[in-house]
């Protein structure tokens, strides 16, 4: 994703124009106490400050859900759309305005259920945008219904005897789509990893898909507990091309060298459920990017009118 470069010199010249993370907070987030969405918001604010993005040069697009309230809390242009349809809107925004940095925030119901068709195709379009899937394994806003990512056997208001099917794995699904160019997983309870992953996603040119495991103390308080308590159940994917945040090696014992260019290994790792894996599963910067392929040079109104006259000559009687 193209960022607006601001040299250090410029920053020193005009220190007052330097924005800090809190400058990117528009309103106080209204999520429940302890909600993992706060962590995601904090990481995003840090990223925006680090990149010194101008509020008017960003668009945050979301669907409907607890997580989709996100744009209201960011000091940027935002489009809080309809359930499941954030990706088509974001695609339209980016096609119209390649100069904007586009971010998409979706919930697991939003992205992997009602919006699943768009998700597959947006992955294939590989339009340049940073995509956050806030996956709490449940429908939060509508109060506790089973989502495609709910673990098998987990009870909810719509599955009082427990979810009957194996959970859908968003990483495997995304990695299976042709032209997928960036697939990563991180967790709200590892802020350093979350931030570094978002940074890598932002730096990648293309559809950068980040699944963020997000705690919902309200409805799925226990789905991630084991992992939160015991870091040994987590394996970090590391590589010079991957996510590298300071201090993580002290927290996590299990580390695996994984070259994000290796799609076969990425798929195999996504499929294995022995440990929770965080990091960049796959990254390829050489794939076609939709907004670049479809870019056409602007034409002046005068020129358009001249061309139209020629067009009409074809139909002249």
């Amino acid at each position: 994703m193209s960022s607006i470069p601001i040299s250090l010199l410029e920053l020193e010249d005009d220190a007052s124009s330097c924005l800090v993370a809190d400058d990117y907070q528009k309103k106080e987030g209204k999520w429940c106490a302890g909600c993992g969405d706060f962590g995601a918001l904090n990481a995003v604010k840090r990223l925006l400050a680090k990149e010194q993005l101008k509020p008017e040069k960003m668009a945050f697009v979301s669907g409907i859900g607890c997580s989709s309230r996100f744009p209201h809390y960011v000091n940027a242009y935002g489009f809080h759309g309809i359930h499941g349809r954030a990706l088509p809107i974001a695609t339209g925004v980016k096609l119209a305005r390649p100069d904007l940095d586009v971010f998409v925030v979706m919930g697991d119901g939003d992205c992997t259920s009602i919006g699943a068709g768009h998700w597959i195709h947006a992955t294939r379009y590989n339009t340049n945008m940073t995509v956050l899937l806030l996956d709490n394994n449940i429908y939060g806003l509508t109060k506790n219904q089973t989502s495609p990512t709910t673990p098998q056997g987990y009870t909810s208001n719509t599955s009082p005897k427990g979810s009957v099917l194996p959970a859908l794995d968003p990483l495997q699904a995304t990695l299976g789509v042709s032209n997928a160019s960036f697939v990563a997983q991180t967790a709200d309870w590892v802020p350093a990893h979350l931030y570094a992953t978002l940074q890598a996603a932002f730096d990648h040119k293309g559809f950068s898909f980040v699944r963020i495991l997000q705690r919902c103390p309200k409805f799925t308080p226990d789905v991630f507990t084991e992992n939160v308590k015991n870091p040994d159940l987590t394996e970090l994917l590391v590589h010079e091309e991957g996510v590298n945040a300071p201090g993580l090696d002290k927290l996590f014992k299990a580390m695996r060298e994984h070259d994000p260019k290796n799609i076969d290994e990425a798929r195999a790792l996504a499929q294995r459920k022995d440990l929770l894996r965080l990091g960049i599963f796959f990254k390829d910067s050489n794939l076609p990017v939709y907004d670049e392929i479809r870019a056409v040079p602007p034409v002046s109104p005068e020129e358009k009118v001249q061309r139209l006259e020629k067009e009409f000559d074809r139909y002249a009687v």
Binding site: I64, A90, V93, A96, L308, Y315
Partner: protein, 625 residues
């Protein structure tokens, strides 16, 4: 080749004629009709052509379902619709001919030039089918003329499939005394990408057809031509809408293929990139609406194109566009419904769903072009309205306009149509994202990239700051402001024209594409002394002003629509249970006038004669009351 001497032919002078070319699909009827229609137009006739399209891509040949072809109606004056039954037909086999007979497409005295090969076919089954078809068609007074189309074509080319159409064109050229030089030019143009030999052979076939007609046909028709003084173009409604979109400065057409709308995007896909825009083929109609909406939010002029089933899918997004006040133009080329319905055929049944199809109160503008020319101009109008009023504008055309071909005055382009829609000047301190003018509901559109304007639009109820708000007054205010814009827009409209006397016994009200057929029928009834007038609506939401007053000047008001309505007297159907045509429902609710309707939904454009009969029936009923 010239086996006999030219025979004497009687020349019949007529004001207009309707011709059909009917073939198996893939036998080139379209090319033949296209050249013939163009030639008529260039010579100064009014022309309307319609395609006859089979439901399948390549149905089995020589069957009643394989019929593909064209109807060409042309006349000395302007032609505004496909008219009544055909007076002359060229049929490549008895089965396609039979299918048209069954649809009642031929005039009782139709002259039918039919391929002669089938009567004496070696195949017994074909001979039998032929005999049965001829028997069935003998109920009418058709004049069959057997023409060795295939045999004659084989004298010039090896594969008659690629050539019979041009021989047929030659027959027509001679019968109607068309200018061969114009035909030759058309052929050269159509085959410009092929070798010169192809053009040469095709021209030879036309000449042979003309010669055969001179040698064998004892009749000619003379449709007087009056060369046009103004510059004209000829095209179908989808081409006109596509060019209208480009002329309106639209730079994003987001769509998903659906008949009969798809050819709009074909046309656009071929040219729009020369105008700085793109066609985005989305994964479905929902996404198509979303991409268009996102692009419009980003400041591009955006369009989404679809037909009924696609409209149903876009429903939720249109509500979002209305709620967030993001301009969006939707072109709905209507087809028969509900469900998959009649994919290739005409109906006007998206009227009410276009106006009322969203949950919640969702005011939007709906306009309906009445002619192919208006298909072009309505795109320009739609953009203007959408941006001025920050609203959704639905343009309702239909399969009749989409595939009908007609000539019209060449438009003069206005450079202002191409203007950038966006104003990036910094947002003044204090200006809110929905700073509704309390009188008009209008507010400045703030586009991403505009300094000082960062805010989040939402489909949730919101206040002027675009903050989510569930306050009772806030929701009422939002509803009021979005609705007010429609009233303001309506205040800029004029009452519709009444064609005919301004008062009388019966007013026939139509909308959109039926204008030509209705006016022709009413004109005929008036010439016979009936006190009937007509009024064709083009703004459907909001409706044009003054309707109630206009209706009050007539004893009876009746809508004519390509829609379903119940008939009183059918089982269970009474004045109370009767469901009216969609336009009648709308106008009854709007004016409280007891409006009747005459509707028909055969999947075909209305015929002036059928409308005429309904007018006479209504007038007589009125008189006896």
């Amino acid at each position: 080749m010239n086996k006999s001497t030219t025979i004497d032919a009687a020349v019949h002078a007529v004001r207009e004629h309707t011709v059909e070319i009917i073939t198996n699909s893939g036998e080139g009827a379209q090319k033949c009709a296209q050249i013939f229609g163009q030639t008529c137009a260039k010579m100064g006739n009014g022309v309307w052509t319609v395609e006859i399209i089979p439901a399948e891509i390549e149905p089995p040949h020589h069957t009643v379902t394989s019929t593909s072809g064209n109807i060409i109606r042309f006349g000395t004056e302007k032609i505004t619709n496909w008219g009544d039954q055909s007076k002359l037909a060229i049929a490549f086999n008895d089965q396609v001919c039979l299918s048209r007979h069954r649809l009642n497409s031929f005039d009782d005295n139709c002259i039918i030039l039919q391929e002669s090969a089938w009567a004496e076919s070696e195949d017994e089954v074909i001979r039998k089918m032929y005999a049965e078809a001829m028997e069935e068609m003998s109920s009418k007074n058709y004049r069959f003329i057997q023409v060795p189309i295939e045999e004659e074509t084989l004298k010039v080319v090896d594969n008659p499939q690629h050539g019979k159409n041009m021989f047929a064109l030659g027959l027509l050229a001679e019968i109607y005394n068309r200018d061969l030089a114009i035909i030759e030019k058309q052929i050269a143009h159509i085959f410009q990408k092929k070798s010169a030999k192809v053009t040469e052979l095709n021209v030879q076939l036309v000449k042979n057809g003309m010669q055969w007609a001179r040698d064998n046909l004892d009749f000619r028709f003379n449709v007087e031509t009056i060369p046009a003084e103004e510059k004209r173009v000829v095209m179908n409604g989808n081409q006109a809408a596509a060019l209208g979109a480009v002329a309106a400065g639209m730079e994003m057409c987001s769509m998903y293929p659906i008949t009969p709308a798809t050819s709009v995007s074909h046309e656009l896909a071929a040219i729009i990139e020369n105008y700085g825009g793109i066609v985005h083929q989305a994964e479905d109609e929902i996404a198509a609406a979303g991409v268009a909406l996102g692009a419009s939010y980003g400041g591009k002029v955006a369009l989404t194109v679809t037909s009924g089933p696609g409209m149903a899918l876009k429903t939720e997004f249109l509500g979002l566009a209305i709620m967030t006040e993001i301009p969006l133009v939707v072109l709905d080329v209507q087809r028969g419904g509900p469900s998959t319905g009649l994919p290739t055929k005409v109906e006007q049944s998206d009227l009410l769903s276009s106006i009322y199809g969203q949950h919640g109160d969702a005011p939007r503008v709906v306009i309906a072009p009445r002619s192919i020319e208006e298909c072009f101009h309505s795109m320009v109008t739609a953009r203007r309205i959408a941006e001025t009023f920050r609203c959704v504008v639905i343009v309702l055309t239909d399969a009749n306009l989409a595939t009908g071909v007609q000539q019209f005055t060449r438009p003069e382009f206005d450079i202002r149509w191409q203007q950038e829609p966006v104003d990036f000047s910094p947002v003044p301190e204090g200006l809110r994202p929905y700073d509704w003018d309390p009188e008009t509901g209008l507010s400045r559109r703030i586009i991403p990239g505009t300094p000082g304007g960062a805010h989040t639009v939402t489909g949730l109820a919101h206040d002027e700051l675009s903050n989510v708000s569930y306050e009772p007054e806030s929701n009422e205010r939002g509803c009021k402001m979005r609705s007010r814009k429609l009233a303001v827009f309506q205040s800029t409209l004029m009452p519709p024209d009444v064609t005919g006397d301004q008062e009388g016994d019966l007013l026939v009200v139509g909308w959109g594409s039926t204008q030509g057929a209705i006016e022709e029928a009413v004109d005929r009834a008036r010439k016979e002394g009936h006190k009937v007038s007509t009024c064709q609506l083009t703004f459907m939401s909001p409706l044009e002003p003054g309707l109630k007053e206009i209706f009050s000047r007539f004893k009876k008001v009746m809508t004519v629509e390509i829609n379903y309505s119940d008939t009183v007297g059918d089982p269970y159907i009474t004045e109370e249970t009767r469901r009216y045509g969609q336009l009648a429902w709308l106008l009854r609710a709007h004016t409280l006038v007891d409006i009747d309707c005459w509707t028909s939904c055969p999947g075909q454009p209305l015929r002036p004669n059928d409308i005429y009969n309904s007018i006479i029936a209504k007038s007589e009923k009125g008189a006896s009351k």
